[in-house]
């Protein structure tokens, strides 16, 4: 054997061994990797594989129905037909969409939404074209089926509000989940459900968790393209709980009609237990428009209306309570001993304080006033005088005890707490000391003081029931409407007022309506002996200048709408055995006596007729 052959063969042998070693090394790396993936990390990948192959779909439960106190439906679930487009069942979805739009026109916004959604969704998934189809539209689609490949009609449930507009401030509405909701409550399983509608305001929002129920679940095995292969598990949804409100839908509707076109609020409350029978904010909106995506045009119309239909004025509007606050001052004075039944002040039409003149609403004055007649005439000078004697602390304390300056209920979300100004508050916020002038403003319910209509009616109701604490209730637990005359007086906590003092204030309120020259005498009524007692207020939204005073105060009608006084009237009936308290607040309504009192009287009469058999044989 030659040298070249021998040498090469020897080198070859050695190198073959080296190569084999390298290959073993690479092989061990590969096998080590297999071991690592399958044994060390095996559990992790098993979980991932399971997550891959199963798809969980939540099924929307039927939302709880909301009833009024008489069992009328305020929010229900109506069958809803919707047209959907399934891309894989048509050759050209744009053509199908065009054919659909020839039959049922869609808005520009919807058209662009659909064109954006269809190519992005998986081919076998449905894209909503139009919800809430009428029966005619359903028929039209069915007749034209051959021209509409890929279009199907699906049946679902849609929230419906039979009293739409009038109950909206209490019931609220539901609407589609948006991105902000997802950021807020990412753990809510409902948010993943296509077409789920979440409670936005009112009871729908506050009792979202009660109403929505438990979602059902469908676990399916799916392939990589998302198509389901078989169902692994199915759990039916559990419907949400029904709710029964204290509201009376018909009274609510009537009250709204009484308010008419005004920007106003009206509340009717049972003074025995705090049940809210009517809770109206006007103008209002139809809650049904929000269950579907609202068009920008309609949304702006609601948003930029100067009468603010989207604001719940009864709950979130804060106003100076005006002369109604004189009830609080009178009670504070009686309790502190600074006022007795016969304590009198002579009203000359104004009070001088240092260099400043505080006017009574009646330029020539009321003459000699006692607490009862001062309430009846709503004499400012009497309360200017008394407030200085009582001092702000006692008035503030009494106001707080009656519910001013803090939220009074927990059922509805978004309530405003109003403000009862104190010397400490003024120093901290306004950086100024409390002056006697502030006390005088406070005594007639003006200045920094403000309150919601709900706080005003609660205060008046607590006076009407003789001084028992009330918490306004919107939720009645039981389905059966209670027989009204037999509801026991909530003998809960007394507010701690002397019942004689409360009775004296109530006498003043009685005179406001039932004595000639009482400020609300014009609104009086007598239903088989059932009468009303109340208190008027007209609260300035701007200061009257000295110049205007000299030129003669203009009549409210001559002022532009935004400058007119707010008109408020708070009352209760029957005057002898109080049962229903009411407040009516009309923004820029002029005078409380002239605008708000007749409305309140109408609403109270309606309540009495509905709930008190005695009032039914009405004579007027």
């Amino acid at each position: 054997m030659s040298v070249w052959r021998y040498e090469k063969a020897q080198v070859f042998g050695v190198r073959l061994a080296a190569l084999a070693g390298m290959f073993v090394f690479v092989g061990l790396i590969i096998m080590g990797r297999i071991f690592y993936l399958q044994i060390i990390e095996g559990d992790k990948y098993t979980v991932l594989a399971d997550k891959n192959r199963t798809s969980v779909r939540h099924l929307i439960p039927q939302r709880g129905v909301i009833f009024d106190r008489q069992g009328r439906r305020l929010a229900e679930n109506k069958k809803n037909f919707q047209a959907v487009l399934i891309r894989e069942e048509t050759k050209d979805y744009k053509k199908t969409l065009a054919a659909f739009e020839r039959l049922i026109p869609l808005s520009e916004e919807e058209h662009t939404r659909i064109l954006k959604e269809v190519p992005h969704k998986k081919a076998f998934m449905s894209v909503r074209l139009k919800e809430n189809l009428t029966f005619d539209e359903v028929a039209l689609i069915q007749v034209n089926t051959p021209d509409l490949p890929g279009i199907q009609i699906e049946e679902g449930l849609m929230r419906h509000y039979p009293y739409g507009a009038s109950t909206a401030p209490v019931v609220g509405y539901v609407s589609l989940v948006n991105e902000q909701d997802e950021a807020l409550t990412s753990t809510n399983p409902f948010l993943d459900i296509a077409g789920y509608r979440i409670g936005r305001t009112g009871i729908e929002q506050a009792f979202e968790e009660t109403l929505r129920g438990t979602p059902g679940l469908e676990r399916k095995e799916v392939n990589a393209f998302g198509r389901s292969v078989r169902v692994l598990e199915k759990r039916s949804p559990v419907a949400g709980e029904d709710l029964f409100l204290t509201l009376d839908a018909e009274l609510q509707k009537y009250a709204l009609s009484v308010l008419g076109d005004e920007a106003a609020a009206a509340i009717v409350m049972d003074v025995k237990n705090g049940d809210i029978l009517a809770f109206v904010s006007a103008p209002t909106y139809d809650a049904n428009v929000f269950t579907m995506p609202i068009s920008t045009k309609n949304w702006e119309k609601l948003l930029y209306n100067k009468k603010r239909p989207l604001q719940n004025k009864a709950l979130t509007g804060v106003y100076s309570p005006g002369s109604i606050f004189k009830l609080v001052v009178a009670l504070a004075g009686l309790e502190s001993g600074d006022i007795s039944e016969n304590t009198s002040v002579t009203c000359t039409g104004k009070t001088k304080l240092n260099d400043h003149v505080f006017h009574c609403w009646r330029p020539y004055g009321h003459g000699k006033m006692t607490v009862q007649s001062a309430l009846m005439h709503s004499c400012d000078v009497y309360f200017y005088e008394m407030a200085q004697r009582i001092g702000p602390e006692k008035i503030i304390e009494t106001a707080r005890r009656l519910g001013f300056g803090a939220k009074v209920q927990t059922d509805l979300p978004g309530e405003k707490s109003g403000l009862v100004p104190t010397p400490e508050w003024k120093l901290a916020v306004k950086k100024d000391a409390w002056r006697t002038g502030d006390t005088l403003n406070l005594s007639i319910g003006q200045g920094f003081l403000n309150a919601t209509p709900l706080q005003i009616v609660t205060a008046v109701a607590q006076i009407a029931n003789g001084g028992y604490r009330l918490t306004p209730r919107f939720i009645k637990k039981t389905a059966v409407p209670a027989s009204d005359d037999k509801v026991p007086l909530n003998k809960g906590e007394k507010l701690g007022f002397d019942s004689y003092h409360v009775a004296l204030v109530k006498k003043g309120m009685y005179d406001v309506v039932n004595k000639e020259r009482g400020t609300a005498h014009g609104a009086r009524f007598d239903l088989n002996g059932l009468k009303m007692a109340g208190k008027t207020a007209s609260t300035q939204v701007r200061r009257i200048t000295m110049k205007e005073r000299l030129e003669g105060i203009k009549s409210q009608d001559e002022l532009p709408w935004e400058y007119r006084d707010h008109a408020i009237f708070a009352a209760y009936a029957p005057a002898d055995k109080p049962r229903y308290a009411v407040v009516v607040l009309v923004e820029h309504g002029g005078g409380g006596a002239r605008t708000a009192a007749p409305m309140a009287a109408k609403i109270l009469k309606e309540a009495l007729r509905r709930f008190m058999p005695r009032a039914a044989g009405e004579k007027e």
Binding site: W4, R33, I34, L37, Q38, G42, T46, A49, N223
Partner: protein
């Protein structure tokens, strides 16, 4: 068929008759190969959800055709392959040029040559032809020659020409395999180790330049390889799903035809490049290691055949083709479990696909041919005796 008549090209001592050659056939080695093919057919049957169509049946037919080819190649005289080694290389190179000029575009790359009856992938043929040509080149060289730089210029050119054409297609995987196979043959021929180190160092330094020469999709693959979780629904999807399938197999696997990842189409290319993942999912660590062992036997046997061949051409041919086979295994397994970028190399003998199977069987035919003629001594220039 002139070579049968040309008796002069045989060495008289070791000339075997056709019957003797058939007797010398290494049936154990062939059995190992067929065993792996059987595993492949079973896996393809499972991949189709328990059906012979669309993959297992055509693959079986290809296997039978490939088996015939193997027989024919193995029974040809070894000298014939040596004599025409450069001819085959030139033919393969010509086909590569053709594919570059009028090739068929498939999957974004120009790899196929449509010959009417069959679709040819010349880059696959080149894997065999280059090994043949290099074995021929180094056969007659003394160690002194092998260690001179000038002597290495022609074989380097032989490698660079096809690699350049294949990179142009573009097919990074095959180009890489040719480079590694050539390096392996240089190593086995006796080129000094320091030269490999120098070239490796040079390659590392020039890596940034190579980066700019890569196609966008190749760069994307490398980036995806480096961090697949970064892009779980785009380019990283395949490798992530592949790892999930493999990892979820566990020790014993999910059972034959029970792999959820493959059955529900989460696993991409489950019948071709990613078939190893599917085997690992269904048969677990036991199955995966078992297959690795089978491959190890085939590779080891190839080394034994190379070692016991008398002719240097035979040694180099056997080892070169074995390296080639091992590269298929290493690259494919590494890429499906995230050890290297996805470069489109099938799992040999198992992945669905015709050209690769045929190429591999031609290779095994040549190795068989070496083993049949292991006693044969070939002179420097292929003569009987040129001492």
């Amino acid at each position: 068929m002139s070579f049968f008549k040309d008796r002069n090209c045989y060495l008289k001592n070791y000339n075997l008759s056709l019957i003797e050659r058939i007797k010398q056939f290494n049936y154990g080695y062939l059995g190992l190969v067929c065993l792996v093919v059987a595993v492949g057919l079973m896996t393809l049957y499972s991949a189709a959800g328990g059906s012979w169509t669309p993959w297992a049946r055509p693959q079986f037919i290809r296997f039978l055709m490939s088996l015939c080819t193997l027989g024919a190649v193995a029974l040809c005289p070894l000298r014939f392959w040596m004599k025409y080694a450069y001819g085959f290389y030139l033919a393969a190179l010509l086909l590569l040029v053709c594919v570059t000029l009028f090739g068929h575009v498939g999957m974004g790359a120009q790899r196929w040559l449509d010959l009417g009856v069959i679709r040819l992938q010349p880059s696959e043929l080149m894997k065999i032809a280059l090994v043949l040509a290099l074995a021929r080149y180094f056969h007659g060289a003394g160690l002194e020659e092998v260690r001179s730089n000038r002597f290495l210029i022609p074989p380097v050119l032989m490698m660079i020409l096809p690699v350049g054409l294949i990179m142009e297609q573009p097919d990074l995987g095959t180009a890489l395999m040719l480079v590694f196979a050539t390096a392996g043959m240089f190593f086995m021929a006796g080129v000094q180790v320091w030269k490999f180190m120098a070239v490796t160092l040079l390659a590392v330094i020039s890596l940034p330049i190579a980066w700019t020469c890569l196609h966008d999709y190749q760069r994307q693959r490398v980036l995806t390889f480096l961090n697949p979780e970064n892009d779980p629904f785009g380019a990283g999807y395949h490798i992530l799903q592949s790892k999930i399938a493999l990892g979820s197999g566990g020790l014993l696997g999910k059972g034959f035809m029970q792999g959820t990842q493959s059955r529900l189409s989460f696993l991409p290319e489950k019948q071709t490049d990613f078939i190893f993942t599917m085997i690992s999912e269904e048969f677990g660590l036991i199955g995966a290691f078992g297959l690795c062992l089978l491959y190890a036997f085939i590779i080891g046997y190839g080394f034994v055949i190379a070692q016991r061949a008398a002719s240097f051409f035979g040694k180099l041919l056997a080892v070169g083709l074995t390296i080639n086979f091992a590269l298929y295994v290493f690259i494919n397994m590494s890429m499906v479990m995230g050890l290297m970028p996805v470069v489109g190399i099938p799992l040999p003998l198992i992945s669905y696909g015709g050209t690769a199977m045929m190429t591999l069987f031609i290779g095994f035919g040549l190795i068989q041919c070496v083993d049949i003629n292991r006693e044969m001594v070939i002179g420097r220039r292929g003569s009987i005796d040129d001492e």
